[in-house]
Amino acid sequence: MELKMFLLVLGLLVGTGSPDMGSSQGKCSESLVQGPQTQENRTHTTHSKKPFPVLSFGYDYVRLPFEISLWVLLASLMKLGFHLMPRLSSIVPESCLLIVVGLLVGGLIKLVGEAPPVLESNIFFLYLLPPIILDAGYFLPIRQFTENLGTILMFAVVGTLWNAFFVGGLLYGVCQLEGHRLVTVDLLSCLLFGSIISAVDPVAVLAVFEEIHINELLHILVFGESLLNDAVTVVLYHLFEEFSSVGTITVTDVLLGIVCFLVVSLGGIVVGAIYGILAAFTSRFTSHTRVIEPLFVFLYSYMAYLSAEVFHLSGIMALIACGAVMRPYVEANISHKSHTTIKYFLKMWSSVSDTLIFIFLGVSTVAGPHEWNWIFVVATLIFCLVARVLGVVGLTFVINKFRIVKLTSKDQFIIAYGGLRGAIAFSLVYLLNTDHFPKRNMFLTAIITVIFFTVFVQGMTIRPLVDLLAVKKKQETKRSINEEIHTQFLDHLLTGIEDICGHYGHHHWKDKLNRFNKKYVKKCLIAGERSKEPQLIAFYHKMEMKQAIELVESGGGSKLPSAMPSTVSMQNIQPKKPPQDRALPQLSKAREEEIRKILRTNLQRTRQRLRSYNRHTLIADPYEDGWNEILIKRKKMKELEKKISQMNNYLTVPAPPPDSPTIARARLASDPQAWGLKSATESIPSIKVDLASPQSPESVNIVDEIGMKGSQPKVSEEGGGLTMKVPSPTKPRKDQTTDEDNDKEPQQRLMRCLSDPGPAAEEEDEDEPFLH
């Protein structure tokens, strides 16, 4: 069975992995192999050369990358394996399974006799943590975050402080009471321990909350708290660590600590924002080198993190600020492909990091060193839980006085229960110096116990509890355009009412910030015309794009698919037009230009013309460039349907005014892409329109007449940037005028042929690209 094969492969991998982990053994075997060779060399150098080594073993050369790759491969295979067992993964959260795997691997390594690798703190903080935080920060839902910012800050700052002092203080009391073994633990060490263990861990929270799909409010509260408490943790950690050697803390130290907190948090945010703006500014100029766009996003964010760490500022807050600041501007500038790349790379990296962290936690547990002390560990556990519950309840009582949407007791329970501890706490304890903290191993054991408890017990039971308490889950509904319109409308309405009241409230400042953003910032950071695009239009175009993609994927069709499942179409809502409007051509040229201009500037702007593969550019993807075409066609289709339905009432209409051939020619000339697509039917999905029109026999003539002309696609002035992979060679633009002249004649001939009804013929011209 699939699973058995998988386990076999896994076993083999681990088997080959573990001896490699033990470097000494590897070296031994290598030197053994080399030994006789060198001896041979000594005896034989004077006489003859040694035989050429066909196959030799040089493990040292690749040792480090090999081991790293092996671990990452192991982690990814583990992840793969869990999802092959759906029953298991629905009961036990992934993080638990990974820790168990880590335990097993660590146990295996120990059995072999090697020292299992421990989660080195600098590897954790420099390589494993940033991808997860960047992923979280880049995709942070800004609106909910800022709406609940007060609550989140209260929980993060006041809650963490409360936890730290409560746990630390009570543990000190317990240590003093316990007597002989623990009495050496002084107050500062306990407070340090308390501050380390009180911070809610973003990695663990993400890992567990992602699987339970809880409603957005709770998710953002717990998650936001886990991100923002980093500043508090950093400050407390450094404060207590600095002074643990001295032994006492004075009032000035406390004041300096508060100042330090402000510096650390605000400094981190400022550093992140600066790098974010730099990234946004850089992305403005990347229109010619689309391939490296994602790289800028990653590099600037990582630099923000490292720069903040240089000054001992909060790296996590820097990373969050960088991602959140740069996102709206970068997304307006980069291509659709880069956006997808960024999304998937971030998800991939954070997923791998996350897996590795949990596995290493398991391995490190086996590695030790441990010092088990029942009283200390149990006391820690109990105090942590109690502190969390009391903190949440107390703070909610205060916060609810200021909130409109109050937090119910169910919410409070989930917030308290979701306060998981994780690898950050572990790494921080690991960093402690054993000289200053003789009881470090005991701290390590206690922390690991708490982490295990929260991840296993709380992680496993939170899902059934959420179901039991009927906590509101995340709503999967798509944002409808009506909701979007009314959200914007409400924003403006509330701002207006605030202005009438004379009350400078929340909406007023938000509106001011938006206007400042639009007026100055967007102009600098967003390239070209997209800086003027209002949000509603951006939303509308995104929706159109999605619908166009759906349309293409569903194989074409004249009606709009799934987004509007009923067959309500334009004609149902358009009031019946009086007949006088009919004689005009459907799409005036100006309007078409406008639509095309809007679509083109607001969709992706890939202008790749190189046909050959080149490391610096990507081949033009007909699907990507084709969206414009498809969207224009859809618009035309909608118009057509409307007109056709109205038209069916009219059988005889006076002949069209004499300038109609010009108009028809202008239409044809300005819509060459349609012709281009006609020739390249194999590569582009085409949109079929079934017209039960009585004019079809004549329309076939038109196809032949104009089809010949149109076999060489013309390039219009506006559409010059878009190239399609068409089988026939593209014509240079100069020829367009001659073609126009050539077109004029058959058009006039046609106009003469089709005397009745005139407008119908005009209809058919337009239809040709769609008929197949």
């Binding site: 509904t477 009506n482 319109i485 914007q488 207006g496 409230g505 695009e533 929706m543 509007m564 009923s566």
Partner: protein, 216 residues
């Protein structure tokens, strides 16, 4: 339209408080603001509201001002618009933006929600016929986009059309090609805005502070 004596009268404040739900302090503050806007007269005119500087940059300014003079917002069966309003009407319109109190029953919350949505509906339905037609909706979207520059009526039209299609498909379901959807009725309006928690979002913090100090 009840006119007021210039000295704040406790008894009248109390009746207002009962009617609109504001506290006495809030009513006093809003009365000060009213007097400031109307230049100490008894009634407020449209031009008085137009003088507010901050309102200049608001794209839906004219609709907001109209809402204050729309009789439908004063009482249940009001019709048409008026030229001037007194403090009572001002306060009534403001009361639509109160936050729901904490201990509220489900029926009261639903009622509040309907009242607020009715206010929004009246803002869109400018010809008082009880439905929001396509033209009116287009006007709404155009106004929203009016400050945003150059993108023109066609896009607004497209957006409004798409929105209308959505309403029609959600409220009425599949329609035959010759059926005509006249416009969004209040019930349909309620339905499509089901996802937006209006009673939570449509509110202003009427803090107990003297607003006249800050305003321009």
């Amino acid at each position: 339209m009840g006119s007021f004596q210039s000295l704040p009268d406790d008894h009248q404040y109390r009746t207002l408080s009962q009617k609109t739900g504001f506290s006495l302090e809030q009513i006093a503050i809003l009365h000060n603001r009213f007097k400031q806007l109307s230049q100490n007269e008894e009634t407020l005119w449209r031009d008085d509201l137009k003088t507010i500087q901050d309102l200049e940059s608001n794209p839906i300014r004219s609709q907001i001002i109209e809402a204050f003079f729309d009789s439908r917002n004063f009482q249940k069966d009001g019709v048409g618009s008026v030229e001037e309003i007194g403090f009572e009407e001002f306060l009534t319109v403001m009361s639509y933006f109160r936050a729901p109190p904490q201990n509220i029953t489900v029926e009261q919350r639903e009622e509040m929600r309907r009242a607020k949505l009715r206010f929004l509906f009246n803002m869109h339905d400018t010809d008082n016929d009880g439905t929001i037609t396509l033209e009116e909706y287009r006007h709404v979207v155009e106004e929203l986009l009016s400050r945003s520059g150059a993108l023109g009526r066609e896009t607004a039209k497209g957006i409004a059309d798409a929105a209308m299609l959505e309403v029609a498909s959600i409220s009425v379901g599949p329609m035959a090609p010759d059926e005509f959807y006249e416009g969004i009725t209040f019930e349909h309006f309620l339905k499509i805005l089901n996802g937006v928690e209006i009673e939570m979002r449509m509110h202003i913090h009427f803090l107990n502070m003297d607003a006249t100090v800050l305003c321009k």
